[in-house]
Amino acid sequence: MSTPALRRLMRDLLPWQEDPLVGVSGAPSENNIMQWNAVIFEPDGTPFEDGTFKLVIEFSEEYPDKPPTVRFLSKMFHPHVYADGSICLDTLQDRRSPTYDVSSILTSIQSLLDEPNPNSPANSQAAQLYQENKREYEKRVSAIVEQSWNDS
């Protein structure tokens, strides 16, 4: 049975079928097309360098009008990421347009990693360290980068 959400999700797969995107990838999980697995691989020159962060994206039948829920499965230490892995990002909530597809969501999370806005923290400890003790912040980030290699 084809629904608008399913048809849109098929289209959201296209970017990866034509050409691999830089550092982000996503695909429906084997048994449920309304649930995608995704990976964000961080570029050089950021504290998250070489991290292979795994995420799960859950869509409802109201997608793309309603945004999916996106959660880190890999441990994450970041001002915008809650302890349960969910992400505080405006483009995943109110300021989102239905034209925003999966690759745009993942790319915006990827750039968020190195450009947090510590003023509306989901993780206040990360926000405080980011502002007051960058060395300790980067130490904590390197720990979760290493953890991301072993958590597969």
Binding site: L21, V22, G23, V24, S25, N37, D44, S152
Partner: protein
Amino acid sequence: IHSKYRKKHQNEFQLLVDQAKKGYKKTGIMS
């Protein structure tokens, strides 16, 4: 839930890791 889910989908995630890295190799940022 996290680790159980991840273990169950381990192969799928490994494919996605490889694909995400491929994107970088294409740009020459990574060798």
